[in-house]
């Protein structure tokens, strides 16, 4: 059944495989009149592009995006926007032997079980390259959020044992190191840790944190389409994510209510605020006007150079060694993917939220009565 379509009002439909013709996404439900050109999308894709540092696969792919529809004279028209990135530099020969066995930590076995066979070249649909489509759509969602004064910022919070605190970070540092870690000292330590594990033909994991500012309160659709529930799905749908937390997440389980509740108060400008934000900006499934905070747990790259035990299709237990160079860590390139999925979800829910009150609907249609 259909599973590559996401969103109710702002809907994206993605396609593509690692060694097919390319990747793409159709965005249906993008409002008309948004200024859009390819360079805006390219800037986002650049952040997930391989071959940019010593920690990412040296395949030099351009991942050049083309807008095929939905834009006229520099603006979106309200009709579906089709984006495409043609694949280049894919050598199918590299993958010929992996057709016969199941790589640990990969989807080889489960795809075979579901579909009866699989496009084994580079993981086919289950390849991390699938996120190209997400990021391309995310760039458009971010452009919409910008018009509404909302920003989504994700960064590398931890790599292996090296963890940083958001309060001590400076956002602008994110872009100054290949790990997207906004604490340059920690980034250096993390780099050393990765190199150490890489030398052992091994890989490492980490945590991505995402912060949303400027979100109006009251966004989310109880009781199943709560904003936190939707964000959890959005982020967990990214390959390699094994956990999601909102606000203080699992830490709240050892707290008491008096420690965990965030008191409301009016500030000196008589604006209602929360004095703390353990809740991570969401109460009862609705945004509460403070920063939305979420974290994603990213597993270490499954493809490692070390010998591994596994099974093949001939009922044999074997030992394999995955050839070719793979990223020793997924985290840095996944930062923009988390940002994209959050942005897409927020746009969808902002749109859904427009029909919550009769008085506003009435005013809306009165304003635009011809």
């Amino acid at each position: 059944m259909s599973g590559s379509i996401y969103g109710k009002c702002f809907t994206i439909s993605t396609w593509g495989e690692s060694h097919g013709e390319g990747y793409g996404v159709v965005i249906d439900g993008c409002p008309a009149g948004l200024p859009l050109d390819e360079s805006q999308i390219q800037a986002y894709l650049k952040r997930r592009k391989p071959g940019q540092s010593k920690f990412s696969t040296p395949r030099k792919e351009e991942d050049k995006v083309r807008i095929l529809s939905g834009v006229f004279e520099g603006k979106t028209t309200g009709t579906p926007i089709s984006l495409i990135v043609f694949n280049e530099n894919q050598r199918s020969s590299d993958y010929s032997d992996i057709a016969s066995y199941y790589r640990p930590g990969h989807a080889d076995y489960t795809y075979d079980m579901k579909y009866g066979f699989r496009d084994y070249r580079g993981g086919g649909r289950s390849s991390g390259r699938e996120t190209i489509s997400r990021v391309a759509a995310g760039a458009i969602a971010s452009a919409i959020l910008k018009e509404l004064g909302i920003t989504v910022y994700a960064y590398t919070k931890s790599i292996g044992p090296v963890t940083i605190e958001y309060q001590k970070c400076r956002k602008e540092f994110s872009m100054q190191n290949p790990l997207y870690m906004p604490d340059l000292e920690a980034a250096k330590k993390a780099e050393e840790y990765i190199m150490e594990k890489q030398a052992e033909n091994d890989s490492v994991g980490g945590v991505i944190e995402c912060i949303v500012t400027g979100m109006p309160p009251g966004i989310g659709e109880p009781v199943f389409d709560k904003l936190d529930a939707a964000l959890a799905k959005a982020v967990m749908s990214i390959g390699a994510v094994k956990g999601v937390e909102i606000g203080d997440g699992f830490q709240v389980t050892t707290r008491t209510g008096s420690e965990n509740n965030d008191p409301f108060a009016y500030d000196q400008n008589k604006r209602l605020i929360k004095l703390t934000n353990h809740a991570g900006g969401i109460l009862g499934g609705l945004s509460d006007g403070s920063e939305i905070i979420l974290r994603a747990a990213i597993k270490p790259t499954a493809s490692i150079g070390r010998p591994q035990r596994t099974a093949n299709k001939n009922n044999e237990n074997i030992e394999i060694q995955i050839v070719g160079r793979h990223d020793p860590i997924i985290v840095p390139r996944a930062v923009v993917v988390v940002e994209s999925m959050v942005a897409i979800t927020l746009v969808d829910f902002l749109f859904q939220g427009m029909t919550a009150r009769m008085d506003r609907i009435k005013e809306f249609y009165n304003l635009y009565k011809q």
Copy 2:
């Protein structure tokens, strides 16, 4: 916009407020021919019923369910099943003053922002009583899973600092203590911890773990409706949940690939198994045939007897003290809610999974050609 509807093939639509006429759910897409009577559903509701132990609110509610449609001569007919639980014993007078201010940790403020006003009696739609509808539907989903040999088992894994290991538990112990903790010694310690905090007019949190056995491999719909993504949404949509993990969850972030990958192997019966299960039974968003394992972080009850600072609607910062007795912990009563949301999600995805292969579809329709 519509947010109280859940599921694509097996769809539930819930309604009800704490102090309205009652709660209900319409299940649309339940297959015909499933034996069903009210006692099956009542047994599930009993597990979330208040007034059963010293740790749950003493309101004595029967929460008696009625089947209003979709069942004929003891079997489901394939048409929508409407279930209703009428409210009893609700005293609106208790809640009169909370209309004027925003309780910390509750949805009072965010509902006001979204809808312009709120049914303040007992939290209205945002009350935990909303889960009655989920559990009633969950009972039916569980009956379907049982026919397919699949079991969903959730339990209290931790309460405050008291944590237990699944490997050391005996499932049957769950039902022998009011905390649904399958380690009676730990349960005793947890009980003491709760009483201590309760004496301080405070509340505590904890972790629920859920284990699914018997799930066939290949269930899930990449790339957005991955099984783990869907389960994350299902569980995060339950009030009070602040984090979700699959398999080893956040622990994987400090592991290496060689530690985290689960090797495949054939066992002595030539059945393919995984030698470890760090992945928690899901690879590439598809079930892999091993146990599915997930955990939910439950925050401490927001309603506490202690004085708390907050703001009212007259632009004043005030101190409040919430009267009435509230559960000092949400965890035990939420166990069956987690089980229900997982069961509903699994049924939906098992149904979705039936169209994955052309050969099976063909065989299906050949079998039933008249």
Copy 3:
């Protein structure tokens, strides 16, 4: 799979069978702040109630509606609205023999094929009484449309050979005769025709026309969710409807383009109008600001007193005679059902239409920024 749920933004979920406990509908996505009480809904239900004239079944049912959720202090709260009508006066014994054979023109056979068995009492889920749920929801949709200055008016356009022209009708006459025909002379002729056929133990069909005024232009979602496509589905989903036309409908097939095109022009107030309305108020799947006009073809009642040939479940060809009195015509009671389905659909699309333009979305959120 789920099929009793309708609408994307304004979503209704219906349930109930002819001889079950009752009928109901859950409306999810109704905006907060709409004044609503049971009498408004009852007024709509009255128009489809049986036992009101010599042409409708003499079963005296009250069809009394209750609001179970979603309304607080006389206003909708934005949360799901659950409506219920308990069945009364259902005698299951009347239907015992129809369990064994397939009534011509009914869903007996097809339900057996789909579900394996059926609730045969009074047609079960396939009974015309199912429209109670639609009309109850339609009453709420109509209340929303009224706030936006939009009216939906349906009437009996033809009964057998007796046809009337909208231009010659006076709306207020609709309510003055049991056939909802706004031309009293024609109504009299139609009445005679029905009585003639009724005397022969036979039944008759007819056409319902529906006119929408006050609809803003630009509503509809190309290319699949065009407004005309959505209306066609809405109306065709009503039992007994065998055809749907928009504007001049099938008549256009023998016209030329120059005859059929509606010229645009500015009127003396410089408002853009269409000089004719062959298109029925929809161009390119979007409302064009003129009256929306659609017609539904209603088949003659399938239950007739005459002897009919059919087959039973014992592989025998038999002759049956359906006992009990049935409406000799469906049309008059279906008028309010057509109105309801059109109203529900329009509300859903008005809500969908709010996200079509970036400038309006921006203005919307600026207006309501706290």
Copy 4:
């Protein structure tokens, strides 16, 4: 809001404009293991291609389709199938002046109202070329139906006053004349009629009939997603369609129940059949095993060479004359579009129908248990 996505289980997402880069469709939910190559799709596209007869625009477009994803080694993989047809031979200069006014019978005005502006080149998204995406997806749906022994056949039933009877036709004649009319004598008369109107710079309409054979009984999802309701939407969503009928359609409105009911009977092979088929193969919204019959009313081409009155954007009433050659009739090229929309809808509902019975679901999963 999203409106270019169609189907629940077999979902298509289309994009493209008349003078953009091209047209495409992403098919999500196509089962794995279906043999598929570009030539199968090209054969369908050929039937709607322009420039093939004197009655279609002389633009010579190749409309060459490419499969970009979802197919591996000649078979579908179960992942999204992306199809693209690049535009060629589009001269935007031809359309420069239509930017300033609203063509009668077109979507120019309504698109402006909805989106604030429009891609005016060749009608942009509202162009009939949009059906390329539908037909490409329809080819795949038809391939699935073929595997299940189901055929969908549409043909030109009438052009202006020239009407034919299905009973007198021979299917194979359809392909032997440019009008897809399976009665060669009638086709000749229709041709003359078209030429006559074309000489007057005018256009003509007609009726398309579609017949489905081999459909198993019990397919459809009451009460809103009835098969006839879904087909009505599918067909009405095609531009230029103004009416849809199932079975005898509007004719039933002047019939009596005894004339209109189709008697059931066992044939000599003890198979249950209907002795007549006024219902058009659908009872209670479910397929009944006999032929499904539907008709679509197609309006005359809106673009005509004759002078027409209309309004421009400067508040002026003007007279226009549309230059360039346009098809004098839409019907023949729409035949394959109707077939496609019906095929897509049937596949979607066959997939939906797989979860109707618990016993079959159980058997399904037992069969495929590893």
